[in-house]
């Protein structure tokens, strides 16, 4: 359904050229859900934005992004607007800044429906109420007449999710949907995603830095670092048998309740500066055991299928 091939995204900034995404390729089939995991600077948000054509003007994009038989990179704004929200929708990270503070929720929801489905205001309101129920907002009638600042963080995120599913899209991109939320609300929202998957048959692309939330929702997992894919495969497979040192590090650095380590395992070093990435293997500054080949770059950073349906970066699979 969605096919991304050899995608390169770079930005011209006053500090130099930032290569945000470097040769990323993946497929998304119908009803599949993919989690893209990475920290700041990994390029995951830029990847998501590029699918919907939301990148800044100073971005240069090369490669292919194909949705069914549309080439998303060469679509004009008018055609793109037919796809956005209706076929592919996005939930942004911070619900407070993604909702218009001057418009009531009703108006914001109705706007989407009236734009895409051409319904009247009353019909739109009915549908909006139904959707608010679907996202488990208890008091839909009061909520729909409120302004964003009158709702709590969790409620606002549910409204965002409602806005994204209202046209029953085939793909929902969720950009760090639970980062600004409390733990209890987080688990409720993740359950909600599962319900949406079943009820609307949508595929979810979940972008996050939190390994903990991906297992329940996404069957496929992609780990990104410095704009490149480090590891890709089935979620359960990767969790039980991580092949890349970065993935291992991410899984290990979360302090778990049932162990009693005095010192937490860390991934050494700092996230890289994308205007001046390390030469050779992009991960070598944080690798626990980098070799000379990593520095030379004699092994390319490209994926090999180490196990069936489990791809790892070629360079890093050797160093651990």
């Amino acid at each position: 359904m969605l096919n991304v091939k050899n995608l390169f995204i770079s930005f011209k900034t006053p500090e130099g050229i930032v290569k945000a995404v470097n040769d990323v390729s993946f497929d998304l089939k119908k009803n599949e859900s993919l989690a893209i995991v990475g920290e700041s600077g990994s390029g995951k948000t830029q990847l998501a934005f590029s699918i919907l054509g939301l990148l800044d003007k100073n971005a240069e994009v090369f490669g292919h992004i194909n949705y069914k038989n549309y080439n998303l990179l060469s679509l004009k704004e008018k055609e793109f607007n037919k796809i956005r929200s209706k076929k592919i929708s996005i939930i942004f990270q911070d619900p407070m800044t993604s909702l218009n503070p001057y418009m009531k929720i009703k108006k914001q929801l109705n706007e989407i429906l009236m734009n895409h489905n051409g319904v009247t205001n009353d019909q739109a309101t009915k549908e909006s109420l139904r959707i608010l129920d679907a996202v488990k907002i208890k008091d839909a009638k009061t909520t729909i007449n409120s302004y964003p600042h009158e709702l709590s963080g969790g409620m606002r995120q549910r409204v965002m999710i409602a806005m994204s599913i209202i046209c029953k899209p085939e793909i929902i991109i969720a950009d760090e949907p639970t980062t600004s939320l409390d733990v209890t609300v987080q688990s409720q929202i993740m359950d909600l995603f599962n319900d949406i998957k079943k009820e609307f048959n949508s595929s979810i692309i979940l972008i996050t830095h939190n390994m903990g939330i991906v297992q329940n929702v996404c069957s496929k997992l992609m780990v990104m670092y410095g704009g490149k894919i480090m590891e890709f495969g089935e979620t359960n497979e990767i969790f039980s048998k991580p092949l890349h040192p970065y993935t291992k590090g991410l899984l290990e650095t979360v302090p778990k309740i049932d162990d009693n380590y005095q010192i937490l395992k860390t991934i050494k070093g700092n996230p890289i500066n994308m205007t001046n990435p390390p030469s050779g293997c992009i991960f070598r500054t944080r690798c626990p055991k980098p070799t000379q080949e990593c520095k030379d770059g004699s092994t390319l950073n490209s994926l090999i299928e180490k196990e069936p349906k489990h791809w790892v970066d070629q360079c890093c699979v050797n160093c651990h």
Partner: protein
Amino acid sequence: MSNSILKVNNLFVDYISNNSFLFPWEKTKIFRAVEDISFEIFEGETLGIVGETGSGKSTIAKAIINLLKVSAGKILFKNNEISNLDEKHMRKYRKEIQMIFQDPLASLNPRMNVGEIISEPLKTHYPNLDKKEIKEQVQEIMENVGLLANQINRYPHEFSGGQCQRIGIARSLILKPKLIICDEPVSSLDVSIQAQVINLLKELQERFKLTYLFITHDLNIAKHMSDNIMVLNLGKMVEINKSDEVFSNPKHEYTKKLISSIPKI
């Protein structure tokens, strides 16, 4: 027998919106942020305060350092009452109670360089120190928190989030305080950096015999850092016990709900 560093007795903090000076017909609105909180921290210990948004944990921190007024109850530092002290008297305690803030970049003045930021506490409380002395102390503390001493002239925006937090930690340590309040110090950092900063905080606690009040919404981190944990919900103290006990044997419904919401890997 360890000394009592911080003792809080029946703390109440209310936010009062009072426009009756200009608009006498408006009733005074009172929002009770924190209700009847009591706890005690002994030297060398860490108390973790866990709660969600709006639970009042930051309010408690601000009340302790006198940024907010206490509506009822007492806060005792080393058995001296510090609640609602005026600034003149609070000044001498400020040397001993410091705070690490949540947003590392926002807690540093963007117009000051690292050296100036870290040396500000020294210059404030020991105005007679000469420049050389100050520089030496700053560089020593920088090394202690894992920053290169030659970065001393750089500005906050030139550092990463984790490094900025180290600058904040260095600033809070330079006066060798007795109590450090950590207000969600790792929440805005990347996951891999969180672990580094937590290890650093633990190491510093051992080396300098520090006492921490550690505020967080992340249960995993709370358990790792704290000897005792207090769970807050909507301003009320819901449970307070040793860390292990709170997790193996949660007594309150809310605590159980929090623990069950933690995503399991």
